[in-house]
């Protein structure tokens, strides 16, 4: 059988016992899943068994703080059982000492039985409650073709071959160089991890999917402060589903981590001398750059087009969606944005949200969310797809196998336009250029947002003028989307490593981005204490 770690291309990959563990366990997992046929009321079951081999290091102010390498193994299982089909789940990490086929078989069987017991108990309760609550319904999954496939991890430089010492050295040296950039730099921190994830998905429907991907990420934090001033703080990430080459320059910024970190440091120092932006009561013309739009599309398009939010499953936590009130009253097919704007979610393109199959074994595909301003669809999983009578589009993921998959963004973006960003900016007589995202705060159904920017520039007569700090924009989402009057041709997808959703909260990596946009929004500024 072909090894999933013989990446096409330049480097032959050394064998790794821990990662290739999955190879030797496929039969075991398939056998365990087949044995569920002996569970009387089991209607469906799946297992996800995964390994995450990782090297990591971090440093602050030029001082080493930690490093390590590990292999984390875990599994999760979902079962639908009972007359009134209900879910039962179970998941746990697995020790390296338990990774023999015999031990794994025992652990997975025990997990399946636990999930089955829960599903049965839950189904019985559901049946008991049905007269009291008529909308209770047996779980129904939209049909998919069961796939058997193996997906290779892609990388030029195998994370497993990078000496741990090199990872640490990059952290210490970079954080030291940042610290040395100015006496105003108060704190620097670099955190790096690089590794390979592999996950096996098997279901009672006959699916057997073995997917691997590499992940390399560098996090940069810098705090700078003028004497007696307010500290200026910057956090940013570079990363990709690739090997060590990501931190050498094969990334969205096309520069090595060290250069990226110094750039962010210099920008932060520059901001300590800038004036704080003042908020406006009325909307002004704003041009938002691709980095800022990564967070914007994430918050005001990505989240409200997740089907589980639309169907109210996140009401108590991450919120609902203003795009779907109910089956008879929703925005599907309606104009919710400027005709210039298209947005989509696509796991097939390069980015943090890339994959071939989701955590239910559904092939991931492009979902057109907004086409020429009209709402077209939602990202979904099989259960939500069945409820909405939409085709399943493979948008279910869990951060680790022992967590339950939920609907997540993939690479969710504003589509590219045809305008030169310099022209878009050059046409503005008076406005503001909003550069690079910082922190978001969004209304419960995503109908209003406030997002801060790393930098805001005044635009005067088509030229970038004064720099401000502590600024950002706020608007009702629909107003902002409808007011877009220019879409640039400088499309980019950025890594967003920390999207929180679910209970317990799962922090997921997604890709977000788009081109330069021009619209209207109120400026936000510093709240003077």
């Amino acid at each position: 059988m072909k090894s999933p770690f013989l990446k096409s291309g330049r480097i032959a990959i050394a064998s790794s016992k821990k990662i290739n563990l999955i190879e030797g366990l496929k039969e075991t997992v398939l056998k365990v899943i087949q044995q569920t046929s002996s569970l009387k009321s089991c209607k469906y079951a799946d297992i996800r068994l995964g390994t995450n081999t990782i090297k990591y290091a971090n440093a602050e102010n030029g001082k080493a703080k930690g490093m390590g390498e590990d292999c984390l193994i875990s599994f999760g299982t979902r079962v639908i059982a009972g007359e009134m089909g209900a879910w039962g789940y179970y998941g746990q990490p697995i020790g390296e000492n338990e990774s023999s086929p015999r031990s794994i078989s025992k652990i997975l069987t025990s997990g399946i039985n636990r999930a089955y017991t829960r599903a049965l108990a839950n189904a019985n309760k559901k049946a008991e409650f049905k007269p009291f609550a008529p909308s209770l319904t047996a779980v129904n999954l939209a049909k998919i073709d069961s796939c058997n496939d193996t997906i290779d991890a892609i990388f030029d430089e195998d994370p497993r071959n990078v000496p741990l010492k090199d990872v640490l050295t990059l952290c210490t040296k970079t954080s030291m160089d940042m610290r040395g950039a100015s006496t105003d730099v108060q704190y620097t921190h670099i955190d790096i991890h690089t590794g390979i994830n592999r996950e096996l998905f098997c279901s009672t429907e006959g699916a057997c999917i073995d997917q691997s991907y590499a992940l390399t990420q560098g996090m940069v934090a810098v705090v700078a402060q003028k004497a007696g001033g307010i500290p200026e703080v910057c956090y940013d990430y570079m990363g990709g589903l690739r090997g060590w080459e990501v931190l050498k320059g094969k990334n969205i910024y096309k520069q090595p981590l060290a250069a990226f970190a110094l750039l962010r440091t210099r920008e932060t120092i520059e901001l300590t001398e800038a004036e704080f932006l003042s908020a406006t009561d009325e909307p002004v013309v704003v041009v938002t750059n691709p980095h800022f739009n990564a967070l914007l599309v994430h918050e005001i398009v990505g989240h409200p087009t997740e089907a589980d939010r639309a169907l109210k499953l996140e009401t108590a936590y991450a919120g609902r969606s203003w795009l779907f009130r109910n089956f008879n009253d929703n925005e599907l097919g309606k104009q919710i944005a400027s005709p210039l704007l298209t947005a989509y979610s696509d796991p097939s393109i390069d980015g943090y949200g890339h994959y071939r199959y989701d955590a239910e074994g559904t092939p991931g595909r492009r979902v057109n969310l907004i086409e020429n301003g009209v709402l077209k669809g939602f990202m979904n999983g099989r259960e939500c797809a069945a409820i909405l009578s939409h085709p399943p589009n493979g948008s279910m993921r869990a951060t680790e196998p022992h967590y339950v998959p939920i609907v997540r963004m993939t690479n969710t973006v504003f589509a590219n336009g045809d305008r030169d960003p310099a022209e878009i900016l050059g046409e503005v007589r008076e406005g503001y250029y909003i550069v690079n995202h910082r922190i978001p705060s969004i209304s419960e159904s995503r109908e209003n947002f406030r997002i801060s920017a790393q930098k805001v520039y005044k635009i005067e007569n088509g030229h970038i003028a004064k720099l401000y700090r502590g600024g950002g924009i706020t608007a009702d989402s629909k107003d902002f989307l409808m007011n877009i009057d220019a879409v640039g041709n400088d499309f980019q997808v950025f890594p967003i490593p920390n999207c929180g959703k679910g209970q317990p909260m799962q922090v997921m990596r997604v890709g977000n981005g788009g081109p330069t946009l021009r619209s209207k929004a109120r400026l936000t500024g510093r709240q003077k204490p």
Binding site: T137, I387, S441, E447, D476
Partner: protein, 488 residues
């Protein structure tokens, strides 16, 4: 399930093993077992649903080993862990990783030394440790029943949403070190956080319940309370943008303290120079009415622990006293780092909370336990209304973030439920949910406190690590913006 004796034995035997290893100066072994159960609700009267959507759990156990090695004239520290292997082999695996991962950290001074004696004993509930799957699923259905019964009794049958969860945490840990620490802890937590809506009325209500013991846990009441609150807020009105005197209810107080105030009162924020309280120790940072402390020894409080994950007994750490900044939350590492440059803080808050338990895979960070908020002279909830006279009661906020970084103190969030307009000292009308954004600075809020309520309730917010013994707090001059005009 792994019992505490096994964890203790593993940690003790592990220390004996590590002591014999070449070049080891000191070592600390942390062994834990945790189970995190979530019974998630999703009831929608007009959309096919499951009621109890997800009965699920994840459990994990393992060893975390921190060792100090001799390396020429300097020392090196290394951390290693082993999962699901509370055995001598697990110790050996963790030790090998620690040796491989060792590095010189000039800020590392020492492993934690023993400090004092624990206050709490046998405060966990064995019934929770042994809870059956059927029982935990039943807790979810009971919460749903509480909400639906309330809606039925008030004749609301359509456009109903009931969401939220029952969460059960079971934690066991033992720690042993060459510095003389040899202790253990066992804790159990049950929480119900329920949100109910009548969506066509655009109203939402919250209800919650938290306890350490199953017999005192009341998920039905959390469900009922959430439905009752939703019903009470029908016919809410918008308010114009402006500056208002407000009362922050218990959930908003918890949200503000969990996401803004407490992170800013942690030595980790001092370490990263990212707090508005940098250089302000001993200075007045809040109204003299306000006192805040962390106390992990409060009997029956769900944030209580016997010892920290560094083996230090929990206790009271004063943070703000009568408006003055008097302390920071600390773990051992940062307390030692800053003892000469700032002050000596007792390191009671070194915890390894992650992924729903005391996680052997990570080193201790700084986490709150129970955050107590007190007023100099506390008043009844009714008196709070009188003190405000005209303003807004804010019952639930959402998505609270330090929008310009923690150091700047600016924050924003939206008001999503349980809120009212106050006129002449009385609640006169509900506030329409999702129509107001708060834009303010946390230092303003702390300085503009008018009064603090007597009654407190244990409150936890989504994603929060600590528990707030939350009062209601009245505050002057809060900027509120009318938003989302396109939604009727």
């Amino acid at each position: 399930m792994i019992n505490t004796e096994t964890l203790k034995t593993c940690a003790r035997n592990g220390i004996e093993f590590v002591k014999k290893q070449k070049d080891v100066i000191d070592a600390e072994i942390f062994a834990s077992w945790n189970e995190h159960i979530t019974v998630r609700l999703n009831y929608t009267s007009d959309i096919p649903c499951n009621g109890v959507h997800e009965p699920k759990s994840t459990q994990f156990s393992g060893i975390g080993l921190l060792a100090v090695f001799k390396a020429g004239k300097e020392t090196k520290v290394g951390f290693g862990s082993s999962s699901n292997n509370i055995t001598p082999k697990g110790i050996a695996e963790a030790f090998q990783k620690a040796r491989k991962n060792k590095l010189h950290d000039p800020d590392f001074k020492s492993l934690p030394m023993p400090i004092g004696k624990p206050v709490l004993e046998n405060y966990h509930d064995p019934a929770v440790m042994e809870i059956a799957d059927e029982t935990m699923i039943d807790l979810g259905w009971r919460a749903l029943k509480g909400a639906l019964t309330e809606f039925r009794q008030k004749n609301f049958n359509n456009s109903i949403i009931v969401g939220g969860d029952i969460t059960i945490l079971k934690e066991r840990m033992a720690i042993c070190s060459t510095k003389g620490i040899d202790d253990f802890d066992e804790s159990t937590i049950l929480t119900a956080n329920i949100t109910s809506m009548i969506e066509k009325e655009k109203v939402k209500g919250s209800g919650w319940n938290a306890n350490t013991h199953l017999s005192n846990f009341n998920p039905e009441e959390a469900g009922r309370e959430s439905a009752e609150s939703a019903i009470k807020t029908i016919d809410g009105e918008r308010i114009p943008s402006g500056t208002y005197d407000v009362i922050f209810g218990r959930q908003p107080v918890t949200d503000l303290f969990t996401n803004i105030v407490i992170p800013a009162l942690s030595l980790s924020s001092i370490n990263s120079s990212d707090t508005p309280f940098l250089g302000k120790l001993g200075q007045k940072i809040a109204s003299e009415l306000l006192t805040v402390y962390d106390d992990g020894t409060i009997n029956g409080a769900v944030g209580s622990k016997r010892i920290s994950c560094e083996g230090i007994p929990t206790g009271r750490t004063n943070l703000i006293h009568n408006g003055f900044l008097v302390g920071f939350l600390a773990n051992y590492y940062l307390s030692k780092k800053f003892e000469n440059s700032i002050s000596s803080f007792i390191p009671r808050n070194g915890f390894r909370f992650e992924k729903g338990g005391r996680n052997h895979n990570i080193q201790p960070k700084i986490c709150p336990t129970n955050i107590a908020i007190e007023g100099k002279e506390e008043v009844t909830s009714q008196s709070l209304l009188s003190k405000i006279n005209n303003g807004i009661y804010i019952g639930r906020i959402w998505y609270t973030y330090p929008i310009n970084g923690l150091a700047a103190g600016d924050f924003t969030s939206t008001i999503i439920a349980d809120s009212y307009v106050i006129k002449e000292g009385k609640i006169v009308k509900p506030l329409k949910p999702n129509t107001v954004r708060i834009n303010n600075n946390i230092t303003d809020i702390l300085n503009n406190i008018i009064a603090v309520s007597k009654d407190k309730k244990q409150t936890i917010v989504w994603g929060g690590e600590g528990v707030v013994m939350a009062p209601e707090i009245a505050v002057h001059s809060i900027r509120l913006d009318n938003i989302s005009g396109f939604i009727a």
